[in-house]
């Protein structure tokens, strides 16, 4: 039985706290603070993206980042949360889920509690945290279709990703009913553990990264992108965005357990080490390959390690986090070059960072998860035989991690391709050639940024 969420515990798990109310208050405090930190990542993405585009499209991409947040809030509130956790809020219901289980609960999608309708039963803090996951998955895409996507079409896709594509895979991975969830009862679980994705290497990064891939494929490269390079207008903004993302990532990873525990300290340490190892490895790779440390690549390399460690940060040991980060750096450089070779124009390298390294991260518990750490996080009846192969666990767990990550990737890619196809028919995807050449800020947003007044 799962230790559950927000202090509610099963009878046969760890002893119930003396003051259940107190621990519940503390867990809410923890989730609210960390979720607020996740919110900063939205600012980080906005700045990173704005730094990576040319001045003529700055306002456009900033606008998109803002609207990922505001549309996401409304859409995720209206339908997204219902699709993801509607029939099984892991919150206060976790220990009584069997009694309250709605008839329409299924392993694929939740269908209850639209508009937070049963607001008394639903834990607001849990909603708040997952809304932030949804908008992060969505905002990843804005980078890969930057500088050439129509604003109307963008509004549509933003709604669909945060309202449907992300929630469905979140339901699989994190709800009490999802087919891959580690929070299901013992006999229904996939293997011993279910799919271990602590904070969303698959649930957020692969989903966002594969949608980015679909977007970049459907909308096509920018004018003048190949074989030329196009460099963003401000390295400072990009570096500021990257640093803010790293800062917010602590909230992202540390808060994802949903409760106060010593394990959160390990999460913070692993997050640090993986990001650092990846950044440093990217630097060495840059020096080896081109002789010059390219600031754009190194910043993305740092993010690559962070995206990778998002899934295993609670169950890996610190040396494992370092390894995961080092491998993520190689994967990032490799995937970035592969996209280049394939003629996929991805201004922020979102596909390489989030899909590529997210995939590796989601698989990595299959190698690096220790039995003790899984039990520490999930409970005593986990990890009887299923833990990392490097620690002598069976390969079943690794197989499950790969299979579920693949399913998430295929789901996100397929649904996104379909979505972009539909949007192409409804509003069109790409702006006119003149608009693209002139800059979206002039054509859609009333003039460019950087109006230098004399």
């Amino acid at each position: 039985c799962a230790p559950g969420w927000m202090g509610s515990q099963c009878a046969d798990a760890a002893p119930t706290p003396a003051d259940d109310a107190l621990s519940r208050q503390l867990n809410t405090l923890w989730v609210l603070l960390n979720a607020s930190l996740i919110f900063v990542m939205q600012a980080g993405f906005a700045l990173l993206a704005s730094g990576c585009v040319r001045t003529k499209n700055v306002k456009n991409i900033l606008m998109k980042s803002v609207f990922d947040a505001v549309l996401g809030a409304l859409v995720y509130w209206a339908v997204g949360h219902a699709f993801a956790f509607g029939d099984s809020p892991r919150a206060y219901l976790a220990n009584t889920i069997k009694q309250h289980r709605p008839d329409n609960a299924n392993v694929f999608i939740g269908l209850d509690n639209f508009f937070l309708y049963h607001a008394d039963q639903t834990d607001f803090a849990f909603f708040f945290q997952n809304f932030l996951f949804a908008i992060l998955a969505t905002t990843i895409v804005s980078g890969s279709v930057a500088e050439r996507m129509q604003f109307k079409g963008y509004l549509l896709y933003s709604c669909i990703i945060s309202g449907f594509i992300f929630p469905v895979s979140a339901h699989w991975i994190w709800s009490n009913e999802g087919w891959a969830s580690p929070w299901r009862v013992r006999e229904d679980r996939l293997g011993d553990n279910g799919f271990i994705d602590h904070a969303g290497s698959a649930g957020v990064h692969v989903v966002g990264g594969m949608a980015s891939l679909a977007g970049a494929l459907m909308v096509g490269p920018r004018i003048g992108r190949f074989p030329e390079k196009i460099v963003g207008h401000s390295a400072t903004m990009a570096a500021l965005g990257t640093s803010i993302l790293w800062f917010g990532w602590y909230g992202f990873n540390c808060g994802s357990l949903g409760r106060v525990a010593a394990a959160n300290g390990r999460v913070a340490v692993n997050t640090t080490l993986a990001g650092s190892a990846s950044g440093l490895t990217t630097l060495l790779l840059c020096l080896a390959l081109s002789g010059s440390p390219d600031v754009w690549l190194i910043m993305n390399g740092t993010l690559a390690g962070l995206a990778a460690v998002t899934a295993p940060c609670a169950v890996a040991e610190s040396w494992g986090a370092v390894c995961i980060g080092v491998i993520a750096a190689f994967l990032y450089i490799g995937f970035s070059r592969l996209c280049e070779r394939l003629g996929i124009d991805d201004p922020l390298d979102a596909v390489a960072v989030h899909a590529g390294c997210g995939f590796w991260g989601a698989v990595s518990p299959g190698f690096f998860a220790t039995q003790a750490n899984i039990r520490d996080v999930y409970g005593a009846d986990y990890a009887a035989n299923d833990y990392g192969v490097l620690y002598g666990g069976s390969g079943t767990f690794l197989g499950h991690q790969i299979a579920v990550t693949l399913s998430v990737a295929i789901w996100s890619l397929g649904a996104s391709l379909l979505m972009f196809q539909v949007i192409k028919l409804v509003t069109g995807l790409r702006v006119h050639t003149e608009a693209e050449t002139e800059g979206l800020d002039y054509t859609e947003h009333g003039g460019a940024d950087f109006a230098f007044h004399k």
Partner: protein, 481 residues
């Protein structure tokens, strides 16, 4: 082994021991909550600084940044010396508090977390003060602004805070014996106390100091003066939103027993700006025809201001309604201000005064009886919004509070700024305004390499500085523009 049977008294003793231990743990965790949310509120200082910097022209960036930095500093000192005593000193009357000047009188004795409370309230006072910097940007003298920010944080704001948030205040919602109409003002996080005060002070300042040169043409039509950096505006807006997650959920001032309320406040603080930004986007599309970033950012903020009063005691759907209507209020209030030929570069008056007022009114309409009882305790039954009670008592109390706050702030700030202006301390000289305040007052331009086209600027130490533009520089600026 001891097998003595125990008496009921032993059990009671044990219970008392447990209760004491638990009370300590709870007090300490409440302090975590108050401190960390106060730190989040502090990040709104960063947000305001970035939003203001992005919204002014590059020649005045350093000036407005300096104002934003120093109102946090001056605000800290003003709040420390007398402001906190006026606001929350227990030895006062219904109108103003007293005691704990400069944290004296054994301030920390009464309870353990009083320092945390002081710090939390300081961040709110600093927020109220910093709102004004945007309204009077690009044309106000530095010294005037310093005096203003000391005056606001040490007297104007504390009195209003005392009225509403001190249990002794005449507008207090928790002073059951003696509050207005048996209801008081349900201003959870400060629509009235923080935003109306800051916004109205800004309006007074902007009215008295007059519009920037060239802001209105000969026919009185406004000439656009867009800010110099959209990226900074977005950074500022997002940081403000981030800080608002301390502002609203943190206003419970405790977590034990209030976790659910805080979580609800976080959700409404998410939905209201969401609805407001979408509403402002469509309104702008209909009224003007483009998707303007600045309008959307301000629309987003209008939703945040609008939900501030009622974030803890309305349902999520009501938060969406409040957010969407706040955006409408903001857009028309902003047009009204322009129609009156008041130049408010950051729309601080429309945003904070207009939507702050609207937020108080919305609270009186949407306030859910059960949630109010949850937040404020089971008070008199008049604590309910019109949509739940068909009863206008709460609306009446809120309207009286709006009038009182407006009269207090306008009655103090208009004469204050008028005197400042008459003394010649308020408006910068015209030639300095045209050249930009940075060059003459603050040791050179904010972006010395780009915007002025002059690679190395001598730091003007004492004498008036005019940037020398030769032909070569002119060309350079052209390519940059």
């Amino acid at each position: 082994m001891n097998t003595t049977t125990v008496t009921a008294a032993d059990l009671e003793a044990l219970r008392a021991e447990f209760q004491l231990e638990l009370a300590h743990v709870k007090a300490d965790t409440d302090t975590i909550w108050v401190l960390v949310t106060a730190i989040l509120v502090f990040s709104m200082q960063i947000g305001f600084a970035m939003l203001s910097a992005g919204s002014v022209r590059s020649k005045n960036v350093k000036n407005i940044l300096l104002k934003n930095v120093l109102d946090a500093c001056v605000g800290a000192l003003g709040w420390y010396v007398i402001g906190f005593a006026f606001a929350f000193g227990p030895d006062g009357n219904k109108f103003i508090g007293s005691q704990y000047y400069a944290l004296s009188d054994h301030f920390a004795a009464p309870g353990e977390s009083t320092y945390a409370f002081f710090f939390f309230q300081y961040t709110f006072a600093a927020t109220a003060a910093t709102i004004v910097s945007g309204a009077v940007a690009e044309r106000t003298q530095f010294v005037c602004y310093l005096i203003y920010s000391f005056f606001l944080t040490s007297f104007v704001y504390p009195v209003v805070a005392h009225w509403v948030w001190s249990p002794h205040g005449w507008l207090s919602a928790v002073n059951y014996h003696n509050n207005l109409f048996g209801v008081g003002l349900l201003d959870f996080s400060g629509c009235g106390v923080v935003h109306m005060v800051g916004g109205l002070a800004g309006l007074c300042g902007a009215y008295i100091v007059g519009p920037r040169k060239g802001r209105f043409d000969f026919d009185g039509k406004p000439v656009p003066m867009p800010g110099h950096s959209a990226a900074l505006q977005v950074l500022g807006t997002f940081l403000l939103w981030f800080g608002w997650y301390g502002f609203n959920p943190g206003s419970t001032l405790a977590i034990n027993g209030y976790a659910k309320i805080s979580a609800r406040a976080a959700v409404t603080t998410t939905l209201a700006p969401g609805a407001a930004a979408v509403a402002s986007l469509f309104l702008q599309r209909v009224l003007v025809g483009d998707y303007d970033l600045a309008i959307v950012l301000n629309g987003l903020l209008s939703g945040l201001v609008g939900i501030t009063a009622s974030c803890s005691y309305v349902q999520p759907w009501a938060a969406v309604a409040i957010g969407a209507t706040s955006a409408v209020v903001y857009i028309f209030a902003s047009r009204l201000v322009l129609r009156l030929r008041i130049d408010d570069p950051l729309d601080a008056a429309a945003l904070h005064y207009g939507c702050g007022m609207w937020g108080l009114i919305c609270g009186a309409f949407f306030g859910d009886q059960d949630l109010i009882a949850d937040v404020y305790g089971v008070g008199p039954q008049d604590h309910r919004g019109i949509f739940y009670a068909d009863d206008g008592t709460m609306l009446g109390a809120h309207l009286v509070a709006i009038l009182a706050i407006t009269a207090w702030v306008a009655g103090l700030m208009l004469p204050f700024f008028w005197i400042m202006n008459r003394m010649g301390w308020m408006r910068t000289p015209l030639e300095i305004e045209e050249a930009g305040i940075d060059a003459s007052k603050h040791g050179g331009a904010a972006y010395p390499e780009v915007y002025e086209g002059a690679p190395r600027i001598k730091r003007p130490t004492g004498s008036f500085y005019v940037p020398q533009k030769d032909e070569h520089d002119q060309k350079d600026t052209d390519t940059v523009d």
